[in-house]
């Protein structure tokens, strides 16, 4: 179902966590709320779930205003940042919780939980307790628990934040595929732009309680509407008021008069990508992103002086 937040504001004391924010998420979409900590993204998610109430504004799910509906009646699946496991219950009972408070027949609960544990690949672990699970397993248990009640929408608060890099990568991929399979409208909160770009179809970039820009990963990367989005999505070089992506910095083989001189301070090999740190004549430092083959062809060495070209640096109106 579609989710809509209309002109939502929320203050904590003097701090404006959300300042007149409006977001629309289409039915079946997978959307990321992306922003630095304190940008209001988690607050917005909690307001949609009904765990916080907005000072002003409306939350609409599937066409119905739920602003005054308590969390338990919103039909929202919520996965908490630290998973909020019920520590005194087995994995089975954790997943069964939503059904059991609805007093569903035992056979139905058993079947549904089994199916969900299969979906999140925790089949053999039904009788374990949360303290016996790894972070990735807890994460999947929390997801299964949220999905058990067949929520209208799925909300995830920093779902991969507390996991190590490898597990995080696997789970991102898995979440994407899961979404393709079950197609429930999903919003997840993250501060990691790479994660947002990899998983989400749509990204809402938030900063200081406001929305900076909404778009597909590609739109945000290629035509950021302001400085903040430009520097938050993808790497960036700042030269005065202008911004240049490191992969747009061209290192020229010879001097044809169109470029400027630069000194190579350091060459960092990151596998396929090579990061070239440069010092410009005026002392400014930038870096260029080239491929391994390019670096080899140009025979880049530290201390070398060469010519670079900065095509179309982007300038934003203040």
């Amino acid at each position: 179902m579609a989710i809509e937040a209309r002109n939502v504001s929320k203050h904590f004391g003097d701090f404006a966590a959300l300042d007149d924010v409006s977001v629309t998420v289409a039915d079946g979409a997978l959307m990321a709320l992306l922003g630095p900590s304190g940008s209001g993204k988690s607050t917005l998610l909690r307001i949609i779930a009904g765990l916080e109430s907005p000072d002003t504004g409306d939350v609409v799910i599937g066409g119905d205003s739920v602003t005054d509906t308590p969390a338990r009646k919103r039909g929202v699946g919520f996965v908490f940042q630290h998973y909020a496991p019920f520590k005194h219950m087995t994995v089975f009972n954790n997943v069964a919780f939503g059904l059991s408070v609805r007093k569903r027949p035992k056979a139905e609960i058993e079947g549904r939980v089994k199916e969900l544990l299969g979906l999140v690949r925790l089949d053999g672990l039904a009788e374990r307790y949360p303290s016996q699970l790894s972070g990735g397993q807890l994460q999947r248990m929390a997801l299964a628990r949220a999905l058990a009640v067949q929520p209208k929408v799925l909300l995830l608060d920093e779902p991969f934040g507390a996991l190590d890099a490898q597990v995080r990568g696997e789970l991102r991929e898995w979440l994407r595929r899961l979404h393709e399979e079950i197609h429930v409208t999903t919003i997840f909160v993250t501060h990691d732009q790479e994660e947002a770009m990899e998983v989400a179809e749509q990204i809402v970039v938030m900063n200081a309680g406001k929305i900076e820009q909404t778009g597909t990963p590609r739109e945000l990367y290629e035509s950021p509407s302001n400085e903040f989005v430009m520097s938050f999505i993808g790497p960036v070089n700042r030269i005065g008021d202008a911004f240049v992506r490191p992969h747009d910095v061209q290192i020229l083989a010879g001097d044809d008069g169109s470029g400027i001189e630069a000194l190579i301070k350091r060459v960092v090999h990151l596998g396929f990508e090579v990061r070239v740190e440069l010092t410009l004549p005026d002392g400014r430092e930038i870096w260029a992103q080239v491929t391994r083959d390019e670096a080899q062809e140009l025979e880049l060495r530290e201390g070398q002086i060469l010519t670079v070209r900065l095509p179309q640096p982007r300038v934003f109106a203040a």
Binding site: A49, A71, R72, F86, A142, R145, A146
Partner: protein, 299 residues
């Protein structure tokens, strides 16, 4: 003496450190070990002097002349009455305080309202005020000439010099335990799991029974044990409120004191041993309960 002991404790690591380069390397190690055993000896000695020796003496003196006098003392009607009265008071006041304590803990930890600090202060008041003063205050409020005395008399309710007053006194002196033991556990538990339960469709009541209460049960159990122990042993407040009528309003602690004053040492010691055993039983019961259910959740 204590200042010189702590002084030498503070000095010893420094002196050991200085000596280390010249003497053998194990010297600082030995100093650490000596200090460790020293601390243990002091702790155990303190316990032995204050607790173990006196309690052991009671047991020894009780069974000094064999089982017959002990049996006679126990089976005496007034002793029996005191025993059952004590249990009755515990059986009423402990559940009352448990419910009240959990409610208070929830209010103080989860609630948002003005004057919360004042409520937190009030809860601790029974700890701060002497039980004798509490007893007197109850007499003033509920006694014949007291503030509610006329109304109670008209309605045929006797509070002072009877069981209701004694329950009241016991409940007041053991009031803070459950709340005080539960609050830190509640804080540690956090609100995430409760919020998760609510997003899964649980009502407030379901969340309390299925999530909050199981999460805080160790704090509650510990609070209940302390409440029980305190309620069993309460003397001062109950002594004033009860009127100490033998065979009627005499609890076990009151019985012990009365017998002791009347030179019936066997009666006094026997009742004291029964009190001590009840307290032990409470502690052991808690220990077993905690161990069994903990094994459930961890293993």
């Amino acid at each position: 003496m204590s200042s010189s002991a702590s002084g030498s404790l503070a000095l010893s690591p420094a002196s050991a450190g200085q000596a280390a380069p010249r003497r053998s390397g194990s010297n600082p190690e030995r100093a650490v070990r000596a200090r460790k055993y020293g601390v243990r000896t002091i702790a155990l000695g303190y316990l032995a002097l204050l607790l173990l020796a006196p309690v052991a003496m009671i047991f020894y003196r009780t069974f000094e002349h064999g089982m017959t006098p002990v049996w006679n003392a126990i089976s005496e009607p007034n002793a029996q009455h005191a025993f059952w009265l004590s249990l009755e008071i515990v059986a009423i006041s402990v559940p009352l305080n448990t419910i009240f304590g959990i409610g208070m803990a929830l209010l103080l930890e989860r609630g948002r309202f003005k004057g919360k600090w004042l409520l937190g202060l009030l809860i601790d008041l029974p700890f701060a005020i002497s039980p004798v003063v509490i007893g007197l205050a109850l007499v003033l409020a509920y006694g014949k000439t007291g503030w509610l005395g006329d109304w109670l008399a008209e309605n045929g309710i006797q509070v002072i010099f009877s069981v209701p007053g004694m329950v009241l006194a016991t409940a007041i002196v053991s009031l803070p335990f459950v709340a005080r033991e539960t609050i830190p556990v509640l804080r540690e538990l956090g609100t995430d799991a409760e919020q998760a339960a609510s997003t899964l469709g649980a009502s407030g009541w379901q969340t309390f029974w299925r999530i909050t209460l199981p999460g805080i049960r160790w704090g509650v159990v510990y609070g209940v044990v302390l409440t029980t122990a305190r309620a069993l042993g309460e003397f001062g407040a109950v002594s004033i409120v009860s009127g100490r009528i033998e065979g009627e309003t005499q609890t076990l602690p009151l019985f012990v004191q009365a017998r002791f004053e009347n030179f019936d040492v066997t009666g006094a010691y026997t009742a004291a041993v029964v009190l001590a055993l009840l307290a032990f039983a409470t502690l052991i019961l808690m220990n077993l309960l905690t161990r069994r259910t903990r094994a459930d959740t961890v293993a």
